[in-house]
């Protein structure tokens, strides 16, 4: 080896070196647009580990960084927490289609509670206007806009994430950025998501939303009580979804969509508690799930009751 090196003459060395310098310069020139990209990327965010691999100290730093980001972006003091699931808890939801009037207050309360981008409107809850006499999603209309609701020949079916026990979105994720928590909630690590949108395509309920643009949030409407896995301000290019308001429900409170419902159509509770409201509904009402045949085993039940 050493003999080979010695045999390189001065002329050939200079020739090769000049070619190498030109090559490197060319590569750098071709990469120059990336300098703008790098200007927007936080190195710490870029190198952040998966949610499950973060130590408590690292998580503390991450939460502090996210709060600083929110302050810089929106000028609001946002509190970001990492709220862990409660033991012996599994959340489920029931919705009484007999009293839902289709006013969309749940969708707008959710949008505000969860800091969902206001433009274009990508609310987690879609209220479907359905023809009475069946559950025909083919003829459902979510863009209905009459003077008043409910219309006499229609009923209204709000659809949001069903927090399935066999979630197709989780299976579709190539990087494990979405998973099912022990309390039944399917969550997204917004910092790990690569934005491929496979989960959106895999969901049979159209429950996932993609941030095509940087979220647009009016400063005065930002909810400052946030959690890492739910409603903290999201970056551009990641998926998001309903989390049953885990920043509220893991502290024992009702989700925002339930509290705003003017007719009390929504029932929420802990499946493992035999005295809970959700257990009463499941034991006393004729509930059904949406698209049972696709095998996702939802934790979101519908029933008709006057």
């Amino acid at each position: 080896m050493s003999n080979d090196l010695v045999q390189i003459g001065r002329r050939s060395f200079l020739k090769r070196a000049s070619v190498a310098v030109a090559g490197v310069t060319g590569v750098m020139a071709s990469l120059s647009p990336l300098k703008e990209v790098v200007g927007d990327i936080d190195i710490e965010a870029w190198l952040q580990q998966h949610y499950h691999e973060l130590s408590p100290e690292q998580m503390k730093d991450v939460l502090a960084r996210l709060e600083a980001d929110a302050k810089r972006t929106y000028g609001v003091d946002v509190k970001v927490q990492d709220i862990k699931p409660r033991p012996d808890t599994k959340f489920a939801y029931a919705l009484n289609l007999g009293v839902c009037v289709g006013c969309r207050k749940c969708a707008y309360a959710c949008e505000k509670e969860n800091n969902v981008s206001r433009s274009p409107g990508m609310q987690y809850i879609r209220v479907l206007e359905m023809d009475k006499g069946g559950v025909n999603l083919e003829t459902a209309n979510h863009q209905y806009d009459p003077e008043t609701v409910p219309k006499p020949d229609k009923y209204y079916m709000p659809v949001q994430c069903h927090q399935c026990d066999n979630p197709s979105c989780v299976k579709a994720c190539p990087v494990n950025a979405t998973w099912k928590e022990p309390d039944g909630i399917v969550v997204v690590d917004y910092n790990w998501c690569i934005g491929c949108r496979y989960c959106e395509a895999a969901c049979p309920y159209w429950a996932r939303r993609f941030n095509f643009e940087k979220p647009i949030l009016p400063k005065e409407e930002i909810n400052t009580n946030t959690a890492y896995l739910s409603n903290r301000p999201r970056p551009q290019g990641v998926m998001e979804k309903c989390t049953f308001c885990l920043h509220r429900t893991r502290e024992g409170r009702y989700p925002a969509c339930l509290e705003v419902c003017p007719t009390g159509a929504r029932v929420f509770g802990n499946l493992y508690d035999p005295k809970s409201e959700i257990r009463y509904v499941l034991e006393n009402k004729r509930v059904f799930v949406l698209k049972e045949e696709v095998g996702t085993v939802p934790n979101f039940f519908y029933f008709f009751e006057a």
Binding site: P33, L34, E36, V37, G39, D40, A94, N96, V101, G102, C103, R104, K105, A107, Y108, R118, S119, P120, G121, M122, R126, H142, Q143, Y144, D145, P146, E147, T148, V149, P150, F212, E213, K214, I216, P218, Q236, G237, T249, E251, G252, R253, Y254, L258, E259, C261, P262, T263, G264, V267, F268, G269, N270, S276, E277, Y280, V281, N284, K285, E305, A306
Partner: protein, 230 residues
């Protein structure tokens, strides 16, 4: 009482059987100001109790600006249990409650500040849930178990309280059916100048990923969320 003179004159014009009004009007105009009389509302009053609106702890007459309590008239009136059309200020209180078509199905005929159960037992107004449950048993059971009615607070009772929403907070007992309400705008509709336009993506990556949302339909003017509230 000057603001009520016209109304009383109108009531007098209705004709026979309204001598009680005359007596009452004379008594009320000559007597000193009765206690607990509320001033008529200054602003126009919204009588539409949509299901989104919580009913307040006052009867419909007060909402409409009438300044006296029911009992101030009815203490003078003879009682007529027959079903009949309402006149005067009672026009505000149309009774559209299923088979309930007389006052004394729920109100006690002599104890004006009380309700009465079918058994004849007298119960106070704030115990009205017992009266409602007499006919609406299954719904009462659902309500007791948290499957009927609006709730706020904590699903975990050990972590905090949950609101108690009695029947008449949502249902007007005289017209219990919910009235239709205006829906909020459909998703994807531009909502006026409340939100700033999206800023241009500053990065090459952002420009590549930039998504241009389709323009709203031309026939729909931008809707402001606040204006759609009833």
């Amino acid at each position: 009482m000057s603001s009520h003179d016209g109304l009383f004159n109108g009531a007098l014009a209705v004709g026979a059987g309204l001598a009680g009004y005359l007596v009452l009007a004379l008594v009320m105009s000559s007597a000193a100001e009765p206690k607990n009389v509320r001033a008529p509302a200054e602003e126009p009053v919204n009588l539409d109790f949509g299901p989104n609106e919580r009913r307040q702890d006052e009867v419909l007459l007060h909402k409409a600006g009438f300044a006296y309590e029911c009992i101030e008239c009815h203490a003078w009136q003879t009682r007529n249990p027959a079903p009949r059309r309402f006149i005067g200020e009672h026009l505000l209180m149309n009774l559209e409650h299923g088979a309930v078509n007389t006052c004394f199905t729920c109100h006690h005929p002599t104890e004006y500040s009380s309700l009465t159960l079918p058994s004849g037992e007298i119960i106070p107004y704030n115990d009205h849930v017992r009266l409602c449950a007499g006919c609406h048993g299954p719904i009462y059971k659902d309500w007791r178990n948290g499957a009927h009615g609006r709730r706020e607070g904590y699903w975990d009772r050990s972590a905090g309280p949950v609101s108690r929403t009695d029947c008449i907070i949502c249902h007007d007992p005289h017209q219990p059916a919910f009235k239709p309400i205006a829906p909020l705008p459909p998703p994807g509709v531009a909502r006026g100048e409340a939100f700033a336009p999206p800023e241009e993506p500053s990065t090459v990556l952002g420009q590549v990923l930039k998504y241009v949302p389709p323009p709203p339909p031309p026939d729909r003017a931008p809707v402001r969320l606040e204006e759609t509230e009833p």
